[in-house]
């Protein structure tokens, strides 16, 4: 029986999850594929005591070259994350004709174009199923079963940290700060959570999804980005009254003029399949001209992402067996134009913190009118005269730039202390 040899660089959560899944299912997979699979080298910066996994000493290493330069290794798992030095390791492995499996969203989003080229030049390939949605098999599905679909939009809950925080606020009436603390305590948020709560993580993922859905490339920098730090429990309660959830969504949509591309908290109707996805779970909704599909599953975690990586390894092995490396190459041939958010039309929910003094509502409402923004709903809770209160305005469908102009003038009103606008996602 032919032996396929695998090398692993990076032995954190996902690296371990991958090796664990591979070892647990080794016999079954070998039987199905008719080849032997052997992990012959695992590289990590430092091999500390107290890992949860026992690794035979002879396959441990601290030197990536022992994987990259080993001619026996046909498949390299990169699980260190980030660009530097992952990019160097991955590009070197590809240049030596090895197949690379990586869950590295930042690497694929920022350096995908280059890496796909290196892979093609060396008649090999790079798989990244774990890069978006962790254990959800979305990448292969888009590159294969949905390649022929005329996709109109892809919307994802692709960040478990923010979905957990918003779920805690919504289901357990916590404040943002309380929910963030809970997330940290449970290991769902990093000690410095900026990358998640400010939406950066999701921008990598939507850049990858948009590239696959629309067969082109977008730069991560072109993704409009908003975080969830300003969301109040009151916002969630008001949204609920209107039959909306508040979710941090990553959205890519094909418009006449180009691609709409953004990550931000939005009001999402309860009738939308993504509205009922709670906690750290991820989900991706794809709408094409012929079908609406929703994929739900674990967005992170070593075991789930490890299984996605093993799925990639199986795919890689089948291609090696059949001499079909590069069978599914880069499917992103076009350059995509991203439409500036100012040009988008939406409904908005605008929260205005204002002094409860006579005439305040009239002043604010007039400014909306002056900017051509008409209002669909207004809610001012019972407040104390002379004190600050949050007033909510739901606009009709208007251009972003009109709302922005209204907000600019409203912010200058003396009675107004703060303005915050959230887009309503109605799928139009």
């Amino acid at each position: 029986m032919r032996q396929i040899k695998v090398g692993v660089i990076g032995f954190g959560t996902v690296g371990m999850g991958t090796v664990k899944a591979l070892w647990n299912q080794k016999e079954e997979i070998e039987k199905e594929l008719g080849v032997g699979i052997k992990v012959i080298k695992i590289v990590d910066k430092e091999w500390m005591m107290g890992r949860h996994m026992v690794v035979p000493p002879d396959i441990k290493s601290t030197d990536p070259a022992e994987v990259i330069d080993n001619p026996e290794i046909e498949i390299v798992v990169e699980a260190i994350g980030g660009i530097d030095p992952a990019f160097d390791y991955v590009s070197q492995a590809l240049a030596r004709g090895k197949t690379v499996i990586t869950p590295n969203k930042e690497l694929i989003a920022k350096k995908g174009r280059e890496l796909f080229q290196i892979a093609a030049q060396n008649e090999t390939e790079i798989f990244f199923e774990g890069a978006v949605g962790g254990g959800i098999p979305i990448i292969h599905t888009l590159k294969e079963q949905l390649l022929g679909d005329d996709i109109v939009e892809v919307i994802g809950i692709v960040n478990g940290t923010t979905n957990y925080i918003l779920s805690e606020m919504s289901l357990r009436k916590k404040s943002f700060e309380e929910a963030l603390e809970e997330a940290k305590k449970r290991g769902f948020a990093e000690p410095v959570p900026t990358n998640d709560i400010e939406g950066y993580d999701a921008t990598y993922k939507i850049a990858i999804l948009a590239s696959l859905c629309f067969h082109g490339r977008v730069d991560v920098e072109e993704v409009y980005r908003g975080g969830i730090t300003r969301i109040l429990l009151d916002d969630i309660e008001y949204a609920r009254e209107l039959d909306y959830a508040i979710k941090l969504l990553a959205i890519a949509r094909r418009l006449e003029e180009g691609i709409e591309l953004r990550v931000e908290p939005v009001l999402l109707p309860f009738s939308h399949p993504l509205s009922s996805v709670y906690g750290v779970e991820n989900a991706i909704y794809v709408r094409s001209r012929t079908r609406d599909l929703t994929f739900r599953g674990p967005g992170a975690g070593g075991d789930a992402t490890g299984s996605a990586m093993v799925g990639d390894i199986i795919d890689a092995i089948r291609n090696i067996q059949f001499g079909a490396r590069g069978r599914v190459g880069c499917t992103c041939m076009r350059d995509l134009v991203v439409v500036p958010v100012e040009n988008l039309a939406s409904q908005f929910c605008v929260r205005i913190l204002a002094l409860d003094v006579p005439g305040v509502l009239g002043k604010i409402a007039s400014e909306f009118g002056h900017s051509g923004v008409s209002l669909s709903a207004v809610k001012q809770p019972i407040s104390t005269p002379g004190k600050l209160t949050n007033i909510y305005f739901l606009t009709h469908r208007v251009q972003e730039r009109n709302v922005q102009s209204a907000i600019d003038t409203i912010q200058k009103l003396e009675v107004v202390k703060d303005v915050y606008a959230i887009r309503v996602e109605d799928g139009q």
Copy 2:
């Protein structure tokens, strides 16, 4: 540019949907794959006027041999359904080395073993993404990305007709008969709806899913089957009070002793991701040791299923291009043992139509006790003395055979006119 020639046998809803999807997306797919794709022959029994699609006269035929025996045709789409004559056409096409794409669930469920063998012997392949869940890309996902997963259970809402009827009952308080009429009117149910409402259709699909998930084969006849014709609106209301939906589920689960395999209406907790799938939509839930995944989408319809077929055509073409036909062959190597339902343990919801006379509840409850069935909840609505009334009993977790024995004796009580039991699906 190489030309791949396609022949289509059967030009009903799905045949048309496939050709339409292929023609609509032709340029994009050809660009991505670097080959030309041409439908050179479409066979149908009779070419009536008034079809919604214009087909050039020179590619119309009524003779399947014009596809099967045409050496130019590399890919055959079978879209006539049923076993006879589909089995002959498909096996002949495979025997001539052609790739076959079929959405024919009955054919795959009953003749899959044979067809996979013929395909392997002739170094070709058969794809059937459209056979389960219509437009939901579940088959490829199970054969590829999830092949390495240690799958514990697969649960599907795989019949749109029954899900529509139960949704109408639940959401619009219709009776079964009213909901069935509405389904017929809307084209969601056949004039003779037995195949759907008695659960036969779903048995084909769960047989296919079980085979893929557990890497073995099961006979369709081994699937325990119950339909939805006896479900009352009252049952749905009672279930709701207990926080359950009633859904016709197709379930395959790995137990110590073998595979649990059944199609029947069950009480499903509202917390389960399948409980919120309404209308004709389908969904499939897969739980492995490392991940829970839910796939939702259109379970039928020519356009959606046609897109799934086009996904298969793309896969087939890639394999042809790379000389990798048979790259993903039959993944079902084991023979699976199906556990008889009598041996399964569940909670049950038992509806008993009884006369409201003194002592009736005591008599019934005693019989449950005699059979070793303990009760978790009981509901007797306010009724009229001497009249018939439905009493609901929710049991604790018991073996099916104990409940059956209780029902057998209860049915013999003079005060009891009817007994109906529904299993509670708690994922254990």
